[in-house]
Each structure stands twice: as C-alpha cells, then as structure tokens.
C-alpha cells in the first residue's frame, strides 16, 4: 500500500488545542470572543423540545375522531397540568359522562380530526454547555456555541467509558508496568483523576467509583470487566454516555499492556494539575478517541497548528497494535515492496521494525503498526 495511512494516537507535551462546544439545537451563547473562561463556566444554553405524549381522545370518549373537537375542554396551545380535564362528553342528563384527564403537564400541541389523537408536549428540557477546559473564547458560532482555545498537554486514549469529568491529576503507581490495585485507593483520591500503569483490577475501579474518583487513566483493563461496570456488553465501540461516576480511559488496549513510557512520563510531569478527561469513544463513522487535556497556565497565543498526517516511512516511530509484541514501541527500519507471507499464511505488506524494549528487529504487517505521534 504505497499510500497507506496509519494515523496513531496523539501524545503531545504541549499543543494549542481548540474545543468546539456546540449545542444540540440552536440557543443562546453566553460568552463573547476573547473572554477568558474556566472549565465549569456555562458558555451556551438552550431548551430541547419537551417529551411528547400522545393520547387517543376518540377512544377514551368513545366518539368518532371527527367529533372529538366538539368535546374539548382545553384548546390547542393551552397550558395544561397533570390531571386537568382535556375533553369531556356531556353524557345523558349529566350521567355517564366520560372525561379524559391529562397524564402529563405541558401544552396541548394538537388534536387530530382523523385519528382523534391529542399530542401533549411536556415542558422544554434546559440544556447547558460548559467550557470543559480553561481557555479563551476563540470563536463564537452564532446561536450554536463557541470554540475554546487553550495551551495544553494532550493525550488520546484508545478506548474509554464515561463522559466529561475533571479533577486534579494524581499518579498512583511507580512505573508504567505496575498494576493499580484497590488497596492503593483511599479517601485522598476523591475528586481526583488517577493514573495507573499497565493494568487496573476491577476491584480497583469499583473502589475508585465508590470513593468519588473523577477519572482513571490506565494502560490496560480486562474487556470482560467493562460489562461488570456498565451492566451490558459493549458490542460496538460507541461510548461516552455510560451511567458511571468515574470516567475510565485506557491508553493501550485490553489486557495487561504497559502504558507507553512517554504517556506515563507526561502524566507524571503534570501531577497536581487540573485535568479534563472524556471517555467518549467512537471507532466508526468519524473516529472519536477518549482524551486527556491538561490545561497549562500559559496563554494560548495562536491557533492550533494542525500537524500534517504523514505516511509511514523509514525512521517513523510506531507502536505494535496486535499480538505478538502488542504495545511495544519501535522504529521502522525497512519497508519492503511486495507482499510477504505471515505465519498465519496470509500475504501482507510488512515493515521491518526495530523494537526498542526488546532490542530486536522483526518483520510485522504494516496493518498492525500505528504511527506514534509525539512532540
């Protein structure tokens, strides 16, 4: 594949980062260009249309749908409270009256003469978007949101669960090869974002969540334990909405895999910094990777310089992303033309890679290598 791209995960010591904070529907932007904002500040808000509740009045009143309009007590557009009578038949001499009470509070949106169906719309649902990171308002998207700019250390994980959270960074292990176990977690971890090494046990996650830990960044985690945490199998990697109180970010993959030294060192360097994390992951249709953003105190002077994604070349630093040698970093030594036969019998394009930790050169399929982006 002469022009194959294998974009990798970013581990950037310092970058100018922008984050778009956009409302799901049009609304009001609360800040203006150039404003300095803190992560917790509300930058835009709107109201989602309320939930809708249909109610077949014709069935309840036992009348033809076309006649329902004659029995309405409330009219379209009226505000109604739960229990209010919406429609009522007169009955016979005041007896055998049938009435329909609203099961919800809201507005009577419409009544159909064809189906006899009334639509009750509940009160709008307010939505507020915060800045998520400390920074400056770089751009206002009228009625929709803002773009925040900041100077930050930035790390992408490979998989995460849980949404946006924030806390002070606390490194829990000595080395990137260590395991984060439950006995290391105590009350001092409350409100923090913890950093583990190669692996974290399920017990450790559970204790962290109970203790009130905001987020955990770790090299590896067992896939089967994810089900234990969220209560269901994650069949397709679209995450971020899980009902959990501690966001989990895995930097390398499932199983016990050493956290890349560069990632670990970067996190260690910023211990004590306030850190924003988001576990949202989506492998398909617009890749989203979980992220760790450590805002730096300095002013973000310029816009992000989008690094050009380059192809794999001699000298490119790569990470092996499949067994054997999963997680090992190395350097591309050769990119032979033509296909070569793998142990599996498949023919594939390969690269000769010098594996740093193991100090040996091996032929690996290019598809199993990821470019390791650092600065």
């Amino acid at each position: 594949m002469a022009h194959a791209y294998t974009p990798g995960l970013k581990v950037l010591e310092k970058t100018i980062l922008t984050k778009t904070r956009r409302l799901p529907l049009k609304g009001t932007v609360k800040v203006k260009k150039g404003d300095m904002v803190k992560a917790e500040d509300i930058v835009a808000s709107t109201e989602l249309p309320g939930n809708v509740y249909p109610l077949n009045l014709a069935n309840f009143l036992n009348v033809d749908p076309s006649e329902v309009v004659n029995f309405l007590v409330k009219k379209e557009g009226d505000v109604i409270n739960k229990g209010d009578v919406i429609a009522e038949t007169k009955g016979l001499f005041g007896l055998f009256k049938r009435s329909v009470m609203s099961p919800r509070s809201g507005t009577l949106e419409s009544v159909s003469k064809i189906t006899g169906q009334a639509i009750i719309r509940e009160a709008p649902i307010p939505v507020n978007i915060n800045a998520y990171i400390d920074g400056i308002v770089d751009e206002v998207i009228p009625n929709e949101g803002v773009i925040i700019r900041t100077s930050a250390a930035f790390i992408q994980g490979i998989f995460g669960i849980g949404g946006e959270r924030r806390g002070v960074l606390k490194v829990m292990v000595e080395k990137p090869t260590d395991t984060l176990t439950d006995d290391l977690i105590d009350d001092s971890c409350k409100g923090k974002v913890l950093v583990g090494g190669a692996f974290m046990t399920l017990e450790a996650f559970k204790k962290a969540e109970k203790t009130g830990v905001e987020g955990i960044i770790v090299g590896g985690f067992n896939y089967k334990d994810i089900k234990d945490i969220v209560g269901y199998d994650i069949g397709v990697a679209i995450t971020g909405q899980e009902p959990i109180n501690t966001t989990l970010i895995i930097t390398e993959g499932f199983g016990e895999i050493h956290m890349a030294m560069q990632t670990f060192n970067l996190l260690k360097k910023h211990e004590g910094f306030v850190t924003s994390v988001n576990g949202a992951t989506q492998i398909r249709a617009g890749v989203i990777r979980p992220e760790v953003i450590i805002c730096l105190a300095e002013k973000a002077e310029s816009k992000i310089q989008q690094a050009e994604v380059k192809g794999m070349d001699i000298g490119t630093v790569v990470r092996v992303i499949r067994a054997p040698y999963f997680g090992v970093l190395g350097e591309v030594m050769e990119l032979p033309h033509g296909l070569q036969k793998l142990e599996s019998g498949s023919m594939a394009r390969v690269a000769k890679v010098k594996l740093y930790d193991l100090n040996k050169e091996v032929m690996l399929p290019r598809a199993n290598l990821e470019i390791y982006e650092t600065n």
């Binding site: 397709v236 499932f254 617009g286 142990e343």
Partner: protein
C-alpha cells in the same frame, strides 16, 4: 470531470471502486480480444473518517495502487483520466459505498406482518440497514414509538400502510407520531430528513399535511396496493435516488466522488444483491450469497417459491455482526462458549475476550500468528451462523416484486410462514467479504461456510476471489456483458462440492457410500462412517456420482434412497461431511472436541502442515 458518453461496445477499460467501512477496493477491467477481464486490483484504507474526512483520498490511493501495478497512467493529479486515450486513463469509472455506516433507515407501516414487513423488504432490497420497524401493532405504546423515533437518527424514513382505499386513521396516526417526534437526520442538521411515503394513496393529503413542513417528503406508489401484491420497485428506486442526493451528498468527500463517477453510486449491498440475482437467473439455480464485512454481514438468497415455482430474492443485513467494528457484538450475541467451540486449542477466556476487544478498537489489524487466524475464523463462523438464522426467519412468504397470493396465504405469511430457505434445495453457496475472500487457504473458506451454513445434500461452494461482487453489481447496471464475463472468469472461484447426508446415527456407524468417476479414469468408492470429514481432490469438471445413504439418512432423494447425479470439484475438491444434520452437534467433552476439530482440519487440509 467532463464525462463523455461512450457506447457500451466501444468501452475498453472500466475502473470500479467499492468504498467499504474499512477498506476501499479498486479493480481495473480491460477488454482483451472480445472479452472483458479483470487485470488488476488495488486497495487502501477508507478515508471517510477523521483525520481525512474525504472518501476520495482513499479512492485515489487505491487507484494509485492499480496504476502502479498495471504500469499505466490512470490519474492526472486528483482526477481519474477518462475516456481512455492510447494507454492512459479509463473509459468509465463507477463506485459503490458502504462507508460511514452505509444507508441507515427507519421503516414504518400499519400491520407489522404486512405493510411494515413489505416496507422493510423494500428498504433491505435497496441496500439499507433497517434500524427499526415501527407498526401500529408492534406492541409499543405511542409515546414509546415517539421516544424511539427521536432517539434514532436515520438517513431516511420509509412510511407505508394501508392498501389503496383501505385504512386511513392508522396511517395518519403513524404520520402524526412522526410529526410529533420531529426526527433529525444522522448526517448534519442543515437539511431536513427525507421521508418517503408509499402507502394508501387516499391518505396522501393527510400525510402531506402532517409531514410536509417538518420533513423532506416524497410520495411514491403504494408498496402494498392490494393485500395480495407487493410493488416495491418505486419505493426502492426512490431510496436509491435519495441515497445519492441526500445521504451521500452529506458524507465527507462524496460530492467529489459523485462528480467522478459515470453512474450513480450504489449502496454496496444493493450491488451485491444485483449480481447474486444475475447468477441465479443465468444458471436457473438456488443461491445463497454472503458478504461478511467489518461492520455488517449481508445474506442474499434466491429460492424458488414452493407454490408458484418462481424464484424469490431476499436480502437481510445483520447490522452489528461483522469482523472488525462489530466483532465484540458477535461475542455478545453468540456468547463465548459458541465461539470457543470452534477454537481448536486451549485458550484462556479472559485472553480471548481481550483479543476480541482489541480487534474492535483496532479494526484494521490483521492476524499475524496462526492461532490469531484460527480465533478470527472461529468468530467468523458464529457471525455467519447468526446472520443466516436471521435471514431464514425473514425470507418467508412474499417475494420481492409482484407476488400473487391468495387471501388465506396473506394472513399466515409471516406468523406461520415457513422460510423459503431450504438447504436441501440449495445449489450454490457463495462467500464474499474479507475473512472468506482473503483466507490464506481456500480450504479454510470452504470449512467456514460449511460449519456456519450447514449445507444439506449436494451443494456447490464458491468464493468471490478478491471480493469484487460489489463492483460487478454496479457494473451490471451499466454494462451487463462486462460484469457477467468478469464474474464467471475472474470473480467466482469454484471451491468444490459439499456432500452432507441429513440425519444422525451413532458415532462410528456407516452413514453413506460414495462412488465417484473422477477425471483420468480414476474412481473413488468409499463408505464413510458418521462423524467424519473427507476431502477428495478433484478439479472443476463434471463428475458422475452415486451416493447411497443408509436407512433413515437423506442425501436429497429421500431417506435411505441412493442419488445419482453430476457434481463438480474445484480448488478445494469434494468434501464429504458426515457430522450429521438436524441436529448438527459438536462433542461436548472439551478434549474430544479439540481432538475432533483438529482431525477435521487435517482431513480437509485446512492448514499447511
């Protein structure tokens, strides 16, 4: 790009791409003498997603590879040169696409087993992934339906219901629910969601009143104008048209791609369905085709309707059964023990789960070691098996277009409708998709298909050589001669024939006697006991066969009856599978199962030793 119209007979080169969710595949077809042949292929990662977000980058990369391999110029910077002049460029360029999630639809009807099912059939036939089927009688409360519509973000909605002159209120009720939900399209908030109405024509004014101002509403002929007949064509054509105009136009880079192609871009499954129907029609046979991709698995079948004798086409898509993006969902749906039963060695369960999870998050990686390959092929068996179960339960009753039924048939079509898929009648099983087309040995593809589909009696097996059925499908719509010639000569690889006696007896007891007149005057005459797999190597030529099962066992001519027929070998040969059918059971004892799996592998030469 300026597109010149060239007469089909003057076309000497065709470039076709298929933009899959993981890989973009390009093939180059050239006229050699009087016939069209595949000359080379290339591939590159699909670039519909970040950081590239432009599908044409992957297309150009794949074409660049074709250019290098063929040694002639096809590109002028970022343009495909057309028409061909001297040795430069190609006469036509066409493409299919399933990238970015393909075409995702919500369908709605009145009666779940009637108009809603017909609407689902129309959407599936057009190549869509059906996210949900709403119906007045689907058991959900109206507010639950609204919540569901609001939650899903489909690419388009197909609304049907009521025969012409039939129910009005139920159809209007569905339209009212849609209006109240005010659904939003999946890609971008800058356009209104396309809704196709294909129901009772008398309800059109009411549907317009409810939906015209909140959606992009299109009206086509009723897809179920009378109870006894489906009319899926107009709805399906409109889906294709809207797929191009609305969905594709929103996906990153597709506007550019649409300008490059000489024919409308087809959803990949729609194109594969087209070519499967061409095979069934030309050979007058029953066919099951499967395309197992990274995200989804599609199954196509053409079987004769037992009542009318007419061939009936059906397609299903298992949206979350695939080998990369959806691989963890195969684990979730099949359960670990069902995957483990195909793994011919000891493996720790946690380790297996982690490997599957890692493939999900790094979907473009490939198995490097033999054990990793065996694990992926074990998962593929289960993905195929589950997809086929779904297909069998859907391929019932009505056919794709213009099926006449009696009223009594109509009422029992789905609830009691038997599947049209009759494995004993199946003539040809065709496999396509990465794990089947690119298996290191064709024997592995044959084994995966046999284990997953459990063919009965006599069944020919084939694979799509390099996974080009999608491109040939779209080509058949613009140049059927070229599509058919390449399909027969370069695409379809005949693996051989599977002889699978149906029934079960005690292990070790004699099950079937097979007598074959092989080429070069050779013969094969053996009696095979129950529980074995046997491979007889033979080329793709007609071979006279006399197959005699023991009492109670059926090979296609009734229990205990001998069958004299002509069968074909192929790249693998003739596989006799006496492991039993109905039921097919693997040993439950762990050690015995591994021993048996290894023995069968060795018998059919699945792996190089």
């Amino acid at each position: 790009m300026e597109k010149e119209t060239i007469k089909p007979e003057n076309i000497i080169s065709i470039l076709a791409t298929d933009c899959g969710s993981t890989t973009t595949k390009a093939i180059l077809i050239e006229k050699q003498g009087d016939e069209y042949r595949l000359v080379t292929r290339g591939e590159a990662p699909t670039t519909v997603e970040a950081p590239f977000e432009d599908v044409t980058k992957g297309v150009l990369n794949a074409v660049k590879e074709v250019e290098e391999l063929r040694g002639r110029i096809l590109l002028d910077e970022n343009k495909i040169i057309s028409p061909q002049k001297d040795n430069t460029g190609v006469d036509i360029y066409i493409s299919t696409s399933s990238a970015g999630g393909g075409l995702q639809m919500l369908v709605a009807g009145v009666v779940k087993a009637m108009s809603a099912e017909s609407a689902e059939r129309a959407a599936l036939g057009a190549g869509a992934i059906v996210m949900d089927v709403l119906a007045s009688n689907d058991g959900r409360m109206p507010h639950e339906k609204i919540a569901r519509i609001r939650h899903l973000r489909p690419d388009m909605i197909l609304l049907s219901g009521g025969v012409d002159g039939g129910t009005i209120s139920h159809v209007v009720e569905m339209a009212e629910l849609l209006r109240a939900a005010n659904p939003k399209p999946r890609l971008g908030a800058n356009y209104r969601l396309p809704v196709i109405y294909a129901g009772n024509k008398n309800v059109i004014p009411e549907v317009e009143k409810n939906l015209k101002d909140v959606t992009d509403l299109f009206i086509v002929s009723n897809l179920r104008p009378v109870l006894e007949r489906e009319n899926l064509g107009p709805a399906r054509d409109k889906i294709h048209e809207l797929f191009m105009e609305h969905v594709m136009a929103q996906a990153p880079g597709y506007k550019k791609l649409m300008e490059m192609t000489h024919a409308p871009i087809m959803p990949t499954p729609g194109a594969v369905g087209t070519i499967i129907q061409v095979i069934a029609r030309n050979e007058n046979i029953s066919v099951v085709g499967v395309d197992i991709g990274g995200a989804t698995t599609d199954i196509f079948s053409v079987f004769k309707d037992p009542y009318s004798g007419e061939p009936v086409f059906n397609r299903t898509v298992s949206a979350n059964l695939g080998m990369s993006y959806s691989i963890s969902n195969v684990l979730a749906e099949a359960k670990l023990e069902n995957i483990l039963r195909w793994v011919p060695f000891e493996i720790d369960e946690t380790d297996l789960r982690n490997r599957i999870g890692n493939k999900m998050i790094r979907p473009t990686t490939i198995p490097q070691s033999l054990d990793e390959l065996k694990i992926e092929q074990a998962i593929a068996r289960e993905a195929l098996r589950l997809s086929f179960i779904q297909h069998k339960s859907f391929a019932v009753g009505l056919k794709g277009v213009q099926k006449e039924r009696t009223i009594s048939d109509t009422f029992d079509q789905s609830s009691t409708g038997e599947t049209l898929v009759n494995m004993m009648d199946l003539d040809l099983l065709v496999g396509s998709g990465g794990v089947l087309s690119h298996a290191p040995r064709r024997h592995q593809s044959a084994r995966m298909m046999i284990d997953a589909f459990l063919p009965e009696g006599i069944t020919q097996l084939a694979v799509d050589s390099i996974f080009m059925m999608p491109q040939l499908g779209v080509l058949s719509s613009v140049h059927e001669k070229a599509a058919t010639e390449v399909f027969v000569k370069d695409c379809l690889l005949h693996l051989g024939t599977c002889i699978a006696p149906v029934g079960t007896i005690k292990p070790g007891k004699e099950m079937v006697t097979v007598k074959l007149e092989l080429p070069e005057g050779k013969t094969y005459h053996e009696t095979i006991p129950f529980g074995e797999m046997v491979l007889i190597e033979a080329p793709y030529v007609p071979i006279n066969a006399e197959i005699t099962p023991v009492r109670g066992i059926d090979v296609g001519n009734g229990p205990g009856n001998a069958l004299n027929t002509t069968i074909y070998g192929g790249l693998v040969g003739i596989i006799i599978d006496t492991r039993g059918r109905n039921p097919f059971v693997l040993p439950t004892n762990h050690d015995m199962r591994i021993k048996k799996l290894q023995a069968w592998s060795q018998a059919v030469k699945e792996f190089e030793n």
